[in-house]
Symmetry: D2
Subunit: 354 residues, 4 copies
């Protein structure tokens, strides 16, 4: 059976390159087109490649970068497109592509809060996927599915089993976010070398409102969750991997061992767990005194295809009805390209790509 | 009038060097002796100097390092000694020196929680100072005064006016702590380069228990404050300056402007504000969207002698009865040597060095 | 006597800010105008200030940024202007300003190799200054004087006494250049964090050709020096300070002590050494095994006004007729704004600003 | 056919861990014993694992760390041992082990300059290997083979074809060396964060004398090469990978294209090129303007088993009979564990392990 032809929109950025790296030898999808901004059109991805840990496959390296145009998608019979576009461009492009029948799996923030667009984390809210049927473009076969902001993705994975099992409403979190999250060229080195920058545009608001949607219940539309995520977001001089320090008041006494058990045993629904890019264990709990660390836990996740797809939690402490822990996740894999890829795998499994 | 002869105990470490830098041209105190660990005795501080931003005065550079011994303190008629000793050494040395009549101003954690030892932040709890009169050594003229842990120092400054004016009990905080806080050699570069380490031994416990003492009320001993500081502490690749992300549930609606006003207008008692090393404004509030930053706000504080003694708060936000902000303070000045020096100035002002 | 009114052209960049910091309390010059690129005109320097180690004086902070225009210079009776402009803009702007009678002291590379423009390092080639009299604009009172590229500046200081005393022609050098040398935003953090970039556009060529001019002899024009500087230039994750590793074949046996003596005793001519910003000792030689280091030796130079104006040499070794050493200099002070300021002081001393 | 049982001596250090990572699935060798310093004996390697990019195989993770003792080697029938010991321990231990019949492949500097010990780089001087037959222990079947210092390894690879083809004697080189080269804990973070340290104990001397031996000719013993390597060595805040800036005076005119051709076409002897860990192309030449970079070129080398075994050269320039280029190599793979492993493969191929 032949693979499904897909495109990567905005293939030369940090998340775009991650999409390409994950799609290079994917069992279901195959890259048929790569688009870029005007001035790179006609060039090749290898001239912009910055993923030091992943070799670019020769057949992908030789694909010519094309303009961001619905006609390009048509020419290559693109069934689904992965969008790593900037939000301001994504607004129209994604809608237009969907209306021409393409299934869009987007990392852009543009449509995340649209009422009929799923903000999807397959282990957390797979039941939100059918929202796509309410999109006007669905009649043409196209739709938009988004993955959440990288910081809330890493937090939502451990939050889901805790919210389900315990009585809690407020989540205080401070982030230590990696440079790759700001794109390229991104953060100037003079701003961040031997420094911390305690501000990331709109990040804290995104974390709060996206958490309410992801954890919201699905009825006639999504009913926002009562959970409030109170975030303080900062950039640190780390290349990849968002670390988050979490502090949650509980209404009952819960031993740390029980928190660890809830997190380690958390799994998505069986059909989610079988997706190619799904990590066997979405949240890994480490017992060491000084983990998770970006350098050491960045690529957590098994099997090989799911490296970087698991969150890692460590330093679980409960004192006086407040639970504290750290969680780390790969911001451009789990919190970006890998997240959207898993969304596409779920959509495929559920028949939405047929 | 001649200056008061003082010693620095443990003069070659990060905090010890800060003590020396602040005492070099102090109006009240003058360095009469410097002690070090055995293997450096006989050497000179200039061979160990690592404070790139402060030149070592020639007369101090030529003082010979001496062993840590009460007889050394006696020989130099030391009235007060600043201790930058490791906790395990400080336990006995500080007690012995106090019993021989020396006033100890210590950055070590050894005696911070002793019932009769003030854990002093002059702008916050100057009324705790008379606790020293209960120390057994006080009859000999000696006593021990401690300054709090560097991380809680930076937090306690903005917390004091908030606790006094508002109804709050829980303070969630995550720290971004500098390398100098771990001493020298301290953190191996392979552990922290392009990484974050989410663990600092005992730091989170210290923050909670020291906050309860600092903010506690003084009657017959100190009644611990009901404030609970829930900390997640991490080390980042910054040279100096602890940044802290704070999130505090309030029981009432308070506009951010009011928070800013409370913080900016916070002052110590008049006799505290006149001390040589006291910053004119203990908490500086910045309006920029991306401050405070370690590199830019590290040395906040006026006049010149108080550089590094002010905390800087920024990004004050209040949403849904939760106030969030960042605060930065210099960990080895305000949170170390400068803190103890200010304590000594207060003790001097109150007649405890006579 | 009133001070001479000067302007800083391109005041918001890294070197522009250094110009301002050095001119803030200068004994001879006073800032009368600051120019910036179009989009910052009307703003104030304080909104762009990034020099964490230097407070901006209130009177300078309140100067409105003005457009880069000869009429602006005229309006403020500008006698001399310090140029921190990008080369492509400097080409015309500097020439025009000179033709309107302004003395330009430029850090831009645009006119450095012009036959009638001095490439001036006061301790090294003060005799090149009269070249300005050959410039067409000199009749109007205006002229252009340039300071050399930051990397060759740091090298030329120790090279001068060696070239004068010893028989040598080839200088092999590798650089470890700071981030501030690339301007702001400059090097993306993703390129340089935990990395080295072995390329700086045109830097190696500039080092070779500028050395030939600086060390050239002055007769009827400048006769290029036979010295060949063979450079390998790289960027490292250091904020300020260019370190250079030097290896020079000698034709004779010279003990390292003699090299150290030549360097330490090097001085400019007496009238140069008395300039306000001239360091008492242009090249400081350190005996420690691990110096110079950017963090520790960056601000070398006395008196206070000359901090950052001295080069620091260390690790002098001579084996088999090859001398090796490291040299460090502050790239935006000695190798930028401070260098041009010293040039202006020399011109003033010689009567060229009357 | 069963694999050859080998031991790693000093398995918990940076190079020790690299030995283990490379031996984990080796076609010829299998790990039978791991030794460590006293205080780690009885523990397991997984508790010390710091190679973030390599998972530790479960069967290796469960091997108990044993004391450094000849009886341990005997008990496990160790044929060959890979030594990552500190030099001062290696002196005696390696000699004793060899005398008891074990073949030692050592990364330690202790025996590198011994007249009867090969300092082996298989692509460069495979003919030095028979020196082992002159070692007193050879009668017992044991011997010591060493790999060169990491910095000279990376330089010797491109130097060999140049020395063979061109007329040159002096090689000026400056290094940008990674943190992992200093072992663990190694360089304190306060020394190197946002800094460069221009000193690495004995490194420059090692580079000169080891180059003379590696490139020396073999007759009745090794006749040192006339090549002089003049090094300036510095440590930078890079995790892995030594970059070197090279400048070589030539006696003839040679176009850069010819230099590139000599380097790219350089190969070891056929039987060397077929060894499992030998890179297909020992020196890779890159044409980009800003390569090699540690982050991007660290793992150069094909096939998969030879990742990190190739040197990468870039920025070849020839001006006025001086050739300049940068070269990068992995200091703990090619310049450490991988180098010794390749030596062992060569010894095996030549029958020295029978």
């Amino acid at each position: 059976m032949s693979k499904i032809p897909v495109a990567v929109l905005g293939a030369t950025g940090n998340v775009g390159q991650r999409f390409v790296s994950l799609l290079q030898d994917h069992p279901t999808f195959e890259i048929a087109a790569l688009t870029s901004s005007e001035r790179k059109v006609g060039g090749h991805l290898k001239d912009f490649w910055r993923l030091e840990d992943v070799p670019l496959a020769p057949d992908v390296a030789s694909i010519e970068l094309q303009p961001l145009d619905v006609s390009v998608l048509r020419k290559h019979d693109i069934v689904a497109a992965f969008s790593a576009l900037p939000a301001e461009i994504a607004v129209d492009v994604e809608t237009n592509a969907a209306q021409s029948g393409v299934r869009i799996f987007s990392n852009a923030s543009a449509h995340r809060m649209d009422a009929d667009v799923p903000l999807l984390l397959p282990e957390v809210n797979p039941n939100h996927l059918p929202l796509v049927e309410r999109q006007p473009s669905f009649r043409e076969g196209g739709f938009v599915v988004t993955n959440p902001n990288c910081s809330i993705t890493g937090l939502a994975l451990p939050l889901k089993p805790l919210v389900d099992a315990l009585d809690l409403t407020d989540v205080h979190v401070a982030t230590y976010q990696a440079l790759s999250g700001a794109g390229y060229p991104g953060v100037p080195s003079l701003d961040i070398t031997a420094n911390v920058v305690p501000f990331i545009e709109s990040e804290e608001e995104k974390m709060r409102r996206e958490a309410k949607k992801i954890l919201g219940s699905m009825s006639d539309g999504i009913l926002p969750s009562p959970i409030d995520v109170w975030a303080n977001c900062a950039r640190v001089a780390v290349r990849d991997g968002h670390l988050e320090a979490v502090s949650i008041p509980l209404k009952d006494d819960v031993p740390p061992r029980e928190i660890a058990r809830l997190l380690s045993s958390f799994r998505g629904e069986p059909h989610v767990q079988q997706l190619p890019t799904a990590p066997k264990q979405p949240v890994i709990v480490r017992a060491e005194s000084n983990r998770p660390q970006p350098l050491l836990d960045l690529m957590a996740g098994e099997p090989a295809r799911a490296r970087g797809m698991a969150g890692t939690v460590g330093r679980i402490r409960v004192v006086g009805r407040v639970v504290r822990f750290f969680v780390l996740s790969h911001n451009t894999i789990r919190g970006g390209a890998g997240g959207s890829l898993l969304n596409a795998e779920l959509a495929h499994r559920r028949g939405y790509l047929d």
